[in-house]
């Protein structure tokens, strides 16, 4: 049998074989394996004359390509396992478990707030949790033996070293490091020497904002915070500002937002006031500028601070602040 006849015969044999039942792997080895039928034909090439050889080579290569292509197609069929197409296949059995992780609700709220202020051109700065009396109090116009110190029950490490009671210390650290203008937010953990209860914990998280520039007005402060409230709670939310007192701002204000639960009609969450207190703010007190070496005649600015826990409790309806720090995975998994 000539080589050419053999080629034809192999082709026929192949098409017959694949029309019936066959084992895919065996088929592949039989025709295309190292010692397979096609390889065998290539070996016969040696016995051909130099005239016949190019033609035979071409035909053999064509045969190899054809069979390779056919077999690759068959590979698709053979890879479809009968398992999933069988009627008895139970597709309802649970898939492999992948535990679902979560970012802590306080981080989520913080990130949301950060991103709002980032869009307004605030960059992010930090201050330390353990700090000197100077950064936490003195430079913020809270002298020793001033009743304003009662506003924050303080943990002391030693004389003149405290666990910061607010993130406002970051203001001082940053102004001492940078010349104005300054436009920062400063998130972080703060501590208060208060008994642990449903509403209060010995620590919580704040985010501080500070903008110092020429000609900053109280209207700018209101504008930025009103924008912030609308970004956070939706554009229908209203804000109101009430005079308040912080030693490091003058004038000082509290900002309330119209209750997000009852739309200002009054409910038990806003204690029927229609308003929720969410942050404190004000124009930077000239004494603060003096303590960091900024000229209060030249620069003005505003500052604000808000509690992350407070916002998160409102957002998720969490009524017990302690849940944030217990690490109960049944709580954490929900976020």
């Amino acid at each position: 049998m000539s080589l050419f006849q053999s080629i034809e015969q192999i082709k026929e044999q192949f098409s017959k074989e694949i029309s019936g039942e066959f084992d895919f792997e065996q088929l592949k080895v039989k025709y295309l394996g190292r010692k397979g039928l096609v390889a065998g034909l290539f070996q016969q090439m040696g016995g051909l004359t130099s005239d016949e050889r190019p033609k035979a080579g071409k035909l053999l290569n064509e045969l190899k390509l054809e069979l390779t292509s056919e077999i690759e197609k068959l590979a698709v069929d053979s890879s479809v396992t009968d398992e999933s197409t069988a009627d008895s296949f139970d597709y309802t059995m649970p898939g492999d478990p992948q535990p679902v992780g979560a970012i802590h609700p306080l981080t989520q709220v913080l990130e949301e707030i950060k991103s709002i202020f980032n869009r307004l051109g605030f960059s992010v700065a930090y201050g330390p949790e353990v700090d000197t009396d100077f950064y936490n109090f003195e430079a913020l116009n809270i002298p020793k033996h001033h009743p304003a110190r009662d506003m924050q029950d303080t943990f002391y490490v030693k004389k003149d070293v405290v666990l910061r009671t607010h993130t406002s210390n970051s203001q001082i650290h940053n102004m001492l490091k940078h010349d104005p203008p300054v436009k920062i937010i400063a998130p972080g953990r703060v501590y208060r020497n208060e008994d642990i209860s449903v509403r209060s914990y010995c620590l919580f998280h704040q985010i501080e904002g500070l903008y110092v520039d020429k000609n900053v007005t109280m209207g700018d402060l209101k504008g930025v915070l009103d924008y912030f409230a609308k970004e956070l709670y939706g554009k229908d939310v209203k804000t109101r500002f009430r005079p308040s007192y912080f030693p490091f701002t003058e004038p000082s204000a509290e900002m309330d937002v119209s209750c997000i639960f009852c739309k200002g009609k009054g409910c038990n969450i806003c204690k029927y006031a229609g308003w929720l207190e969410i942050l404190g703010c004000g124009m930077v007190d000239p004494e603060v500028f003096k303590s960091v070496g900024y000229d209060p005649e030249k620069w003005t600015g505003y500052a604000f601070g808000l509690g992350i826990e407070r916002i998160a409790m409102l957002k998720y309806g969490v009524e017990d602040i302690r849940l944030f720090y217990e690490g109960d995975i049944r709580f954490l998994r929900q976020f």
């Binding site: 209207g219 209101k222 690490g327």
Partner: protein, 794 residues
């Protein structure tokens, strides 16, 4: 502080409703909550008992016939011992409610006798505590009149103010009335003072000597003789009760009343107890002992200011009187002290003893030095009115250096610019007038004289706030042009934290925030860094700042294990603290990442990955690769503190952290029963390692990759990492990947032998590699392995 609406009427007849005032005061910066009392009952009227006989089946019930002005009388069964005929009583008719609606009066049968209503006691109506019997009323009102009218109940309206520390001027009804005056746009009335002085001079009774003028710039006194201590009249008791004060006796009540009225704290001494007839104001000596009115003996410091009888302490100035010198029922002659004490002195005095009184609260926030004498005169008048007595002639007033009135220059232009408003001179002057600020205009500057009751207005910016306050914060225009400046940008040092959180949370880890205050024991478990302690902790459990991120995670693990949780992964990012002398505050802060793996595997019908070393290592590998930490290495070093097995992770030479298994003792300490895996690392180093990685694109290779497997028999002492590193080192540039795909140990192989199989991937960017070429590479690799590790190819 509570402010009574009725009381305020003494100063100003309000026209605005209490609700409007509540909002108005809040908008002026006096955070205010309106509290209106309402009657606890409805439909209780005046009745008269016409007949009263004993119940035939009871030894304590009476059957009464009661006229309440209706067409017919009612039969009411009453259990009170004091019921009799011809008395006027409160009658709750059928349909009436008591106890705020909780209790409803219905027709009833008591031991077979019908009863149509109820005769009430004072306690049942919640008007007094009288439980001994029904209330008997002396009145001429017609029967059937609502009882609240008969008893002349004034509805109580109270403003509960949450005062900020700067609002010392509003610490009494007078100050709040001034603010209400701004809202009502009316002037407030002055109290009329009217009493007679005797001919005997106050100087004949006592002399005053102020040594400590720093602490007491002004001290004034009056003397009243022949007073009679007794109960206070009803009106005074009611006013005090309404704002939450207890009535004690007429003189003490008068003193408290004036305190709550004018806001100035005064002290009344029993004159007889001032034996030396000499008041001396001095600072205490170090260690001096003094027993206060509340019977606590205090050890004083040199900064405590004392009011003394000669040298003998009578009172802790501005804070609390002494046990010995107070008014008693036997007191007849009294000395009224009205003084101005320096705020910081009183603050320090009260704070160091951990005392806060109505008096100290006010002195700390500063008082009105010009309010001293009017307050004292008002108190004098009230005492004479309530307790009789004669007022000695004159006042002792020790005031060596009169206080300068505050003067502040004010520029309207600057104010407008600062607040972003444009008010004119007329409006400004109106505002100043309403605040009782007097002014002169010179060269377009306002020279303002600040009223003495506003010690908080010292600077121009303080007046800006006043203008904003009266103008209304909510009326200030909102600017919505946001500006920013490139020069203000600061690098976010914690940017990596977000990536860490995002990778871990998307691979099944839950983020935890733990309490960073821990116990001393917990600081000793994992770190030799000296922890930072809190000198006034809430408890010994929270006396230190954490010096490791692990304890907080373990507390959470224990918490969850006790709640039957079987499988979870937690992480936390947070600051740890340790002592560092090099820093001014004596400590340093680092941010750490902690991870904990709890539980073996999730319960599932198919075998799932067990949380063992290789699983955890794989997850960490994935995590750090995803973060882009280059050249990750797991190295066995000295055992970490608190661990029974620990592996150190490096990125190049930078230590990222430690992975391991905790010791049994630690687990016991945290009451954790299941073995866990823990990672603890430095955020700073992780961030640094990411920064060193250069990201550059490489184009995919066009030519096919060829795989070769090698199976090796090797001594157990050699690690797979050693072998794979040698393979990589000797494989040449074209060896693109080395993967360990099989491992086993078997007795047949020899006790100290193991089998490792690697899959090697070769690929050239220039051509398709031939079998021959690859054989050469593999041979070279095997030669090297044989030489170095005496491997046998299987």
């Amino acid at each position: 502080m509570k402010i009574s609406h009725n009381w305020i009427q003494d100063y100003i007849k309000t026209e605005l409703s209490p609700e409007v005032l509540e909002k108005g005061l809040t908008d002026l910066g006096l955070e205010c909550t309106l509290q209106k009392s309402s009657l606890s009952f409805t439909n209780v009227v005046l009745g008269k008992v016409l007949e009263c006989e004993s119940h035939p089946d009871s030894d304590h019930l009476s059957i009464c016939n009661v006229d309440v002005g209706d067409e017919s009388n009612y039969q009411i069964v009453c259990g009170a011992p004091n019921v009799e005929i011809d008395i006027f009583v409160p009658v709750a008719k059928v349909g009436a409610t008591l106890s705020n609606g909780e209790f409803k009066i219905k027709k009833a049968k008591l031991r077979g006798v019908k009863s149509f209503g109820m005769i009430c006691s004072g306690q049942e109506l919640q008007v007094n505590d009288d439980v001994d019997g029904i209330m008997i009323i002396d009145t001429n009102e017609p029967l059937g009149t609502p009882i609240e009218q008969v008893l002349n109940f004034n509805q109580s309206i109270v403003y509960d103010l949450d005062l900020t520390p700067n609002k010392g001027d509003c610490f009494g009804h007078l100050g709040v009335a001034r603010e209400i005056g701004i809202l009502e746009e009316k002037e407030i009335a002055k109290r009329k003072i009217n009493f007679k002085e005797s001919s005997k001079s106050v100087n004949d009774f006592v002399s005053i000597n102020v040594d400590a003028t720093d602490g007491c710039p002004r001290y004034t006194a009056r003397v009243i003789t022949g007073v009679k201590i007794g109960p206070s009249p009803q009106w005074l008791v009611e006013r005090l009760t309404e704002i939450g004060q207890k009535s004690i006796n007429n003189v003490v009540d008068a003193s408290n009343y004036v305190l709550m009225d004018t806001g100035h704290p005064m002290h009344t001494f029993d004159l007889e107890k001032i034996k030396s007839k000499q008041i001396k104001v001095r600072f205490a000596e170090k260690g001096e002992k003094f027993t206060l009115l509340d019977e606590t003996e205090q050890k004083l410091e040199e900064h405590h200011l004392l009011i003394c009888d000669g040298n003998n302490p009578l009172a802790l100035a501005g804070v609390m009187g002494g046990l010995e010198s107070g008014i008693t029922d036997e007191t007849t002659d009294i000395l009224i002290e009205s003084a101005y004490f320096t705020p910081t002195v009183i603050r320090k005095s009260a704070k160091t003893l951990d005392i806060s009184t109505e008096s100290s609260k006010r002195f700390e926030r500063d008082t009105d030095i010009e309010n001293i004498i009017p307050s004292m005169d008002y108190l004098t008048q009230l005492i004479v009115e309530l307790a009789g007595g004669e007022v000695a002639k004159g006042i002792i007033d020790v005031y060596p250096k009169p206080k300068q009135q505050l003067e502040v220059d004010f520029s309207l232009e600057k104010c407008n610019k600062f607040l972003g408003i444009s008010i004119d001179n007329d409006r400004l002057q109106q505002i100043f007038n309403s605040l009782e600020i007097q002014f002169e205009i010179k060269d377009s500057l306002y020279h303002c004289s600040i009223p003495t009751f506003r010690n908080d207005l010292e600077r121009e910016v303080d007046l800006f706030e006043e203008v904003a306050r009266i103008y209304g914060y909510n009326n200030l225009p909102v600017s919505n042009a946001f500006t920013g400046c490139y020069t203000s940008f600061i690098k976010d040092e914690h940017k990596t934290d977000s990536s860490i959180r995002s990778i871990l949370s998307s691979t099944g880890y839950l983020e935890h925030y733990s309490n960073s205050l821990i116990s001393v024991e917990q600081t000793l478990h994992f770190s030799d860094l000296l922890p930072v302690s809190v000198s006034n902790p809430l408890s010994s459990e929270m006396a230190y700042l954490r010096n490791s991120i692990i304890p907080g995670l373990l507390t959470a693990v224990s918490y969850n294990e006790k709640r039957q949780q079987k499988y979870f992964k937690l992480f936390e990012i947070g600051a740890i603290h340790y002592q560092a002398d090099s820093e001014e505050k004596g400590s340093h802060e680092d941010f750490n990442l902690g991870i904990v793996w709890f539980g073996k595997s999730q319960t599932h019908w198919r075998k799932t990955n067990e949380q063992d070393y290789y699983n955890v290592k794989g997850e960490l590998n994935h995590f750090f690769n995803k973060l882009d930490c280059p050249k990750l290495r797991f190295v066995k070093e000295e055992l970490e503190k608190g661990f029974e097995f620990s592996i150190t992770l490096y990125s190049g030479k930078l230590k990222l952290g430690v992975l391991g298994k905790l010791s049994k003792d630690i687990l016991k300490n945290f009451e954790i029963k299941t073995p866990i895996w823990v990672f603890s690392g430095s955020i700073e180093n992780i961030a640094q390692s990411i920064a060193t990685k250069k990201s550059k694109y490489r184009s995919p290779i066009l030519y096919p990759a060829i795989e070769r497997d090698i199976a090796l028999l090797v001594k157990k002492e050699f690690t797979s990492e050693q072998l794979s590193r040698t393979v990589k080192g000797s494989g040449g540039e074209l060896l693109k990947n080395v993967t360990l795909f099989d491992y086993f140990e078997k007795e047949e192989l020899g006790i100290d032998m193991k089998s490792l199989a690697f899959s090697l991937t070769f690929q050239s960017p220039e051509k398709t590699l031939t079998d021959n070429e690859i054989d050469k590479f593999v041979t070279k690799i095997l030669d090297k392995l044989v030489k170095q590790y005496q491997v046998v190819q299987r």
